[in-house]
């Protein structure tokens, strides 16, 4: 039994559905080295974002070129649409960081649907983890600076208007939800949106290919074609999700900073 199964698999007539294993890449430069495809994507994305904003800022011409226009559009969008909207004029200080964060996450996400790259680096949890930790450090630091160490935690943990005894129950909940749940959900939301999206695309494309080329027959060709056509639609949908998730990450970071600047509940 076992042998025949292996034979079938070797002939390729067994479909192996994509799974978490598809997110593990071997080192690019062979055994023993550590540099993998997701790392390469991160390095390239970092350079791209840096160059984009650097060029946009340096050659600030009256009639903007293509690169400058793109850089200015992203910056303007984050500055007016996120920083000003959530924090008011005080938020302008954070616009550069938020814009960089947005461009960085979008680039890493979008790499999931760029032909031949086709891997969203943000589906590896380390990257959202690190970005979420940075966000967490920033909004807590701002809160402590604005309201003092005790004042910040007092405002956070002891909302007015409840009996003193109930604070024993509620104060830890407030603390956990602000300091732990916030960065945790930032991280998980981004990671698993990208993870699931990539998995769905893999399933539609690999499954379609298998049906079309390996299974064949009327059913195989019909189902495979539908699956591949569906994968095109899903690719566009993924593009939308990837931009949306970057927006959500940056928006929530801005809201947390804004909340820490003016705690008043």
């Amino acid at each position: 039994m076992c042998v025949s199964y292996t034979l079938l698999a070797a002939e390729g007539s067994q479909f192996e559905s994509p799974g978490p294993g598809d997110f593990e890449y071997p080192p690019i430069f062979g055994e023993g080295t550590f540099f993998t495809k997701p790392m390469l994507i991160i390095v390239v994305a970092t350079v791209l974002v840096a160059v984009l904003f650097f060029l946009a800022a340096r050659r600030a011409a009256a009639v903007p070129g293509k690169g400058q226009f793109m850089g200015e559009s992203i910056y303007g969008f984050v500055r007016n649409g996120i920083a000003l909207d959530t924090m008011g004029r005080e938020g302008l200080r954070f616009a550069p960081y938020l814009a960089t964060l947005f461009a960085f996450i979008v680039t890493l996400n979008i790499s999931g649907i760029i032909p031949f790259v086709q891997f969203p680096a943000t589906s590896r949890i380390a990257i959202p983890l690190f970005l979420a930790v940075i966000s967490c450090v920033i909004f807590n630091t701002i809160g402590i600076r604005r309201q003092g160490f005790l004042g910040y935690f007092k405002n956070m943990m002891f909302p007015p208007g409840i009996p003193k005894l109930v604070y024993v129950l509620l104060a830890p909940i407030e603390l956990v939800s602000t300091v732990i749940i916030r960065p945790l959900t930032l991280m998980l939301r981004l990671t698993f949106n990208m993870f699931a999206g990539h998995l769905v695309l893999l399933l539609f494309i690999l499954g379609g290919e298998f049906l079309l080329l390996e299974k064949g027959g009327l059913v195989g060709i019909a189902a495979g074609s539908i699956s591949l056509l569906g994968s095109i639609v899903l690719t566009f949908f993924e593009g939308f999700v990837q931009i949306l998730q970057a927006y959500v990450f940056v928006l929530l970071t801005a809201l947390y900073i804004g909340g820490a600047m003016s705690e008043e509940h």
């Binding site: 909207d85 129950l169 909940i173 407030e174 956990v176 939800s177 602000t178 801005a254 804004g258 008043e264």
Partner: protein, 70 residues
């Protein structure tokens, strides 16, 4: 201290949903965790359930306290 009056902060509503989620989850996490520790200590699994319910109740109460009073 406040940069903009609370009413003018247009995006605030979007964060309320996430904050409510965080409060309930935080409550379940924290008091569920405490309940689990107590149940390990006393060898009685009833405390996990008590902790979870207590945390959920506390989280819901905080959500009501912050957003439900109009």
């Amino acid at each position: 201290m406040t940069a903009v009056p609370p009413d003018d902060r247009g995006r605030r509503g979007e964060s309320d949903a996430f904050a409510a989620f965080g409060l309930i989850t935080g409550g379940v996490f924290f008091w569920g965790g405490v309940g689990w520790l107590v149940s390990e200590w006393l060898d009685n699994s009833l405390f996990v359930m008590l902790g979870l319910l207590l945390g959920m109740g506390g989280g819901l109460y905080l959500v009501w306290l912050r957003y439900g009073r109009g």
